[in-house]
């Protein structure tokens, strides 16, 4: 059956196309094309002038060849010639060629612009239409320069035909997108807004797109469009399905225009005028109501058009985020779609609910659909739908459902498509961190991630788990135990070896008491993985080994043997070789003291925005993640370890120099290559710190924070919305030095910034503090440091108070915190044998010399942690002294300028009763009393 080709058939073109289609091979096609190109070239170059029809035909053939994917380097001139033809179809082909093939050939652009200018001036609406289409299709800057002034005039002129107005509006839109600077706002803008009232719905449709784009950049200028758009929308949604004639699409009145109007309204907040606002609410309610009506047609086009308007209306409701009633209705509507038989609707419902989840009005309503969403994750056959389900679970996650959601994501991860695994890993890692109440759960989750999807666990994820473990002493023992167990698996992922190596290097001592994880066993376990690992991991393990030399003198010889072996010392990799040489030397020449200083436990990491979150943002584009996060952060301000805004200058020390970046840890400061920086070590944020309001005298939470510093020297002392105070201190004999870091968390300067140290009268005689004033201005995001030199004259009980006053914005801020300078800081440990201990114990038998306290355990009764705390307290931990191995005994000397005080302590845990009995005996009653108070708070 012959089909009829309408319009002007170009027989030659049809034959050529048939020829190409009949080509049996790519080579034959290329041959045929080359033949045709040669023919056209000779025709164009020939002496005989071509008539318009031939020119059109050849230009059209060139276009076809180009669209097949071949390059075309001639014919442009002939196409430009066609533009000035008086025959519509010749002109049309000329413009088409230019639209598809134009390049920034300036010669040509001038000629093209000339032809366009003539057509625009022709007053012939069809020619004007072609010219405008060409500008809209090419949209180059040169065209904007030539026509951006002219087109608005055409657009608003009273005598312009409707179809030309439509083209002019969208043509201007295109030019505005390419070169906004060349489209001047002016008188025409108010007249363009009134096109929303035009009788011709096609004109309104085109104009709405233009107005929306202009309003996004110039909201003030186009503010009046809101009420016009609302009334237009209202007329459409209330019209009967036949009123709009050809603009009704499958019984839906003007769906494209409705969507565009709803989109325009999303450039603005809810209307202020109550009448307009009421009318808009009515419109939105009508749209929601219509969704519940029986369909007017079974055609998918009907339901698609209707739902397109519905989804856009929901977007507007979410954008306004101000009508709880509408938000909840929207959520219920989407809830219905979650189980719709149309995959497309399920997909869109999941997508749209993601944004609803971030509104405080509808967050709870979204959460009720959790089971359906989890089910979607398990049963949807289309990966793009499952992806949406993952996004929604992430968006609806909060503390109440985090454990369930993380568990579901983890189990989905086992079978997830490769294309979305990395993203799921990031999301799980973020949720686990953000909503961890119990950090053992966090550690378990991350190790599970590595087990299930080790290849997709990016560096950011495993850096992060290490940062968190280092910053929280309550989880360190558990982390060490867990990684040790995980490493037992015969085949474990290299990322696990990295995490395991790092954590055991820092905290292996916490589990070394158990004979099943003795130092040698730990070392052998790690070293058994060594040869299977890549160079960066091996480098990390070497650092772990040298840390072991410090932690466990008993394995020193074994480790030295390993370092000394040819495979290390003569390793082809220069990094490994260097580490082996340096670590071996360090272990040989350094005294225990020096080694202990060099390889001291990592200081807490400066808190910054979670690098994982940053990565997810990068992956998903800022718009999708940020908004959600911002709102969520505000809602769950109490979240521990949630990503916090970062002071811009987290100080140079945390940025490793190229040579220092040996661990391959990127932003993580390297420990084993040198002593930890003693100053400017960055903000030492502890993720547990309570956010307290800045009110003098003592900020709430100050006592708790104070107690946390009794057994440690570094960390965050205080933090609120504005200010963060970090500490780092060191003590030797009766002297000490404390670095106080004041971080301005805001982007605004602090003025008159004055920290003052206050010692009560009797404290002043016992404790001598010296410091210099700091700079009175602290820039936004900056950090200043203050050094306090400390001398202990005689034993003391009270603590000095640090008062900080400054101006932030217009308000005066006044914060006071107790500074954790405590008597035990001046402890020097004393090792002694069992016999000596009991002899001295008996000598201190005067009733005033002994102080005893029996108290309930406040933390889990973990032997290793207890040991670590006694050592952190400053005394020596004496093993095999007490006949009962469950008990702990310690000894040390408190140094003051005037005297030295010998101290003995004994801690007897009662696991059954969850109680402790602590006994202190010292040569001075006040010292016994104070040390007992301080230490009792720690368990």
């Amino acid at each position: 059956m012959p089909a009829v080709s309408k319009g002007d058939g170009m027989r030659g073109l049809a034959v050529f196309i048939s020829d190409i289609r009949n080509c049996k091979s790519k080579e034959a096609e290329i041959k045929r094309i080359n033949k045709e190109l040669a023919n056209i070239r000779s025709k164009f170059k020939g002496d005989k002038a071509l008539d318009g029809y031939s020119k059109k035909k050849y230009v059209c053939k060139l276009l076809f060849i180009f669209l097949l994917g071949h390059d075309i380097d001639f014919g442009h001139m002939e196409a430009v010639n066609l533009l000035s033809s008086n025959r519509y179809t010749e002109k049309q082909i000329g413009y088409l060629f230019i639209s598809v093939l134009v390049n920034s050939n300036s010669e040509l652009i001038r000629l093209i612009n000339n032809a366009i200018k003539n057509d625009l001036a022709s007053r012939n609406p069809t020619f004007m239409g072609l010219a405008l289409h060409c500008i809209a299709n090419v949209g180059s800057r040169e065209m904007a320069e030539a026509f951006a002034g002219e087109i608005p005039k055409i657009l608003v002129a009273g005598d312009t035909m409707d179809s030309v107005k439509q083209s002019a509006a969208l043509c201007l839109l295109r030019l505005y997108r390419t070169s906004p600077d060349l489209v001047p706002m002016g008188d025409w803008t108010s007249r363009v807004v009134h096109l929303l009232n035009d009788q011709h719905l096609g004109v309104v449709t085109a104009a709405t797109s233009l107005i929306t784009t202009l309003a996004q950049k110039n909201p003030e200028e186009f503010k009046t469009s809101v009420s016009l758009a609302v009334s237009r929308l209202s007329r459409i949604v209330t019209s009967a399905s036949t009123d709009l004639q050809d603009y009704t699409y499958y019984f839906v009145p003007a769906p494209w225009l409705s969507v565009k109007l709803l989109r325009l309204l999303q450039c603005y907040p809810p209307p202020e005028d109550p009448a307009v606002r009421g009318r808009l609410t009515e419109c939105l309610e009508t749209i929601l109501n219509k969704a519940q009506e029986p369909p007017k047609s079974k055609k998918v086009q009907h339901s698609n058009a209707k739902n397109a308007v519905l989804f856009e209306a929901i977007s507007l409701i979410i954008h306004h985020d101000s009508e709880p009633n509408l938000l909840v209705r929207a959520c219920n509507q989407l809830g219905q779609f979650l189980q719709h038989r149309e995959t497309n609707l399920r997909y869109l419902a999941l997508e749209s609910m993601c944004t609803l989840a971030s509104s405080e009005f509808s967050h709870e309503a979204v959460k009720t659909h959790i089971e359906t969403v989890i089910n979607a994750l398990k049963t949807e056959r289309d990966v793009s739908v499952r992806q949406r389900a993952v996004d929604l679970l992430y968006a609806m996650c909060d503390r109440s459902n985090a454990q369930q959601i993380v568990a579901e994501m983890l189990s989905y991860l086992e079978t997830a498509d490769y294309s979305i695994r990395e993203e799921i890993v990031l999301k799980v890692a973020i949720l686990a961190e953000k909503y961890a109440v119990d950090y053992t759960w966090y550690v378990d989750t991350i190790l599970n991630l590595i087990r299930i999807a080790g290849d997709y666990v990016s560096e950011e994820v495993w850096y992060r788990v290490i940062q968190i473990v280092i910053n929280r002493d309550d989880v360190q023992g558990y982390a060490a135990k867990t990684v040790f167990e995980a490493l037992q698996a015969p085949a474990c992922h290299e990322n696990l070896v990295k995490v395991g190596g790092y954590i055991l290097g820092e905290f292996g001592n916490l589990i070394a008491g158990d004979p099943r994880s003795s130092p040698l066993i730990q070392f052998n376990l790690l070293h058994s993985k060594f040869h299977l690992c890549s160079v960066p991991t091996r480098a990390l393990l070497l650092s772990t080994y040298i840390k072991f030399v410090n932690l466990f003198p008993e394995v020193k010889a074994t480790i030295q043997d390993v370092l000394r072996s040819d495979s290390q010392l003569k390793n082809a990799d220069v990094e490994l070789q260097q580490r082996a040489v340096e670590y071996l030397r360090l272990s040989t020449v350094a005294s225990t003291d020096i080694l202990a200083t060099v390889l001291e436990e990592m200081p807490p990491f400066p808190e910054r925005e979670s690098s994982i979150l940053a990565k997810l943002k990068k992956k998903k584009g800022p718009s999708t993640v940020t908004d959600l996060e911002e709102t969520k952060r505000e809602r769950s301000i109490d979240v521990n370890g949630g990503p916090e805004p970062v002071p811009a200058s987290t100080s140079a020390a945390s940025t490793p120099s190229p040579s220092a970046d040996l661990l391959g840890l990127g932003a993580v400061p390297p420990a084993p290559t040198g002593p930890p920086p003693s100053s400017g070590g960055g903000l030492l944020v502890d993720v547990f710190s309570d956010s307290a309001s800045a009110v003098a005298p003592l900020a709430p939470g100050s006592e708790d924070n104070f107690a946390r510093f009794v057994c440690k020297n570094n960390g965050v002392l205080f933090e609120n919305q504005l200010l963060q105070i970090g500490l780092k201190s060191e003590f030797r004999q009766n002297l000490g030095r404390m670095f106080i870091f004041y971080g301005n968390k805001t982007s605004t300067q602090f003025l008159n910034f004055t920290p003052t140290l206050i010692c009560a009268d009797d404290l002043q005689t016992n404790l001598n503090l010296q410091t210099k004033p700091v700079d009175p201005t602290v820039d936004g995001g900056a950090q200043v440091q203050q050094v306090v030199n400390i001398e202990c004259i005689s034993d003391f009980t009270e603590a000095p108070v640090l008062n900080i006053q400054f101006r932030y914005g217009g308000t005066f801020q006044n914060v006071s915190v107790k500074l954790p300078i405590t008597l035990n800081k001046f402890f020097q440990p004393t090792e002694m044998a069992s016999q000596d201990f009991f002899q001295r114990w008996k000598q201190l038998s005067n009733p005033q010399q002994e102080v005893q306290n029996i108290f309930k355990a406040k933390h889990p009764m973990d032997t290793e942690i207890t040991k670590a705390k006694i050592i952190g307290f400053g005394s020596a931990l004496l093993e095999e002294v007490d006949p009962n191995p469950a008990n702990f005994v310690g000894a040390g000397i408190i140094h003051t300028k005037t005297t030295q005080i010998g101290c003995l302590l004994r801690l007897e845990p009662n696991l059954q009763a969850q109680m402790y009995r602590l006994t202190l005996r010292t040569s001075k009653d006040t010292v016994s009393q104070r040390l007992c108070e301080l230490l009792s708070e720690q368990f």
Partner: protein, 160 residues
């Protein structure tokens, strides 16, 4: 809308329309990637997918895929109906349009598209108005016959 591509089940590009400035090289790369991605999808899958930072909306009509790339804020369902309205326009113009109509009359397919969409936005949704504009031009021209056979896109022939 950033661009629209029409391609066959064999992956042959039949029409391409770009509403954002891109180099030829970039266009080819996008086309190749996208054709591959869409052809790999199974029939019952959803019509939308995320691709780079864009949303892809596609639908298959007989042997031809219509594929649009829209931005994050754009409405997927209405884009699906943009595709359908374009198919209807082609169908009405050619009379039971098939892939061959678009191959042999590619220039017409472009002209119709320009009347319907301009600069990536819907210019005129009325079928009557769009076709009126196209037919005005055709009135001047003689009618020629070409020979080819093929199956129409839309099952219901001349339903309107």
């Amino acid at each position: 809308m950033q661009f629209m591509l029409l391609f066959s089940r064999q992956g042959k590009l039949r029409l391409q329309k770009w509403y954002v400035p891109l180099s030829d090289k970039e266009k080819k790369k996008i086309t190749r990637e996208l054709v591959q991605t869409v052809l790999a999808r199974k029939p019952k899958m959803c019509s939308f997918l995320e691709w780079r930072d864009l949303k892809i909306v596609y639908k298959r009509y007989a042997s031809l895929y219509f594929c649009c790339a829209i931005e994050d804020q754009d409405n997927e369902l209405i884009t699906l109906e943009i595709i359908h309205r374009y198919v209807e326009l082609l169908d009405k113009y050619f009379g039971s349009v098939c892939e061959l109509d678009i191959i042999f009359n590619f220039e017409k397919a472009y002209f119709i598209l320009d009347e319907f969409l301009l600069g990536g936005e819907v210019q005129e949704t009325s079928k009557k108005n769009v076709l009126k504009a196209i037919e005005q031009a055709d009135l001047l021209q003689e009618k020629t016959e070409t020979m080819y056979h093929s199956k129409s896109f839309i099952g219901y022939k001349k339903a309107y």
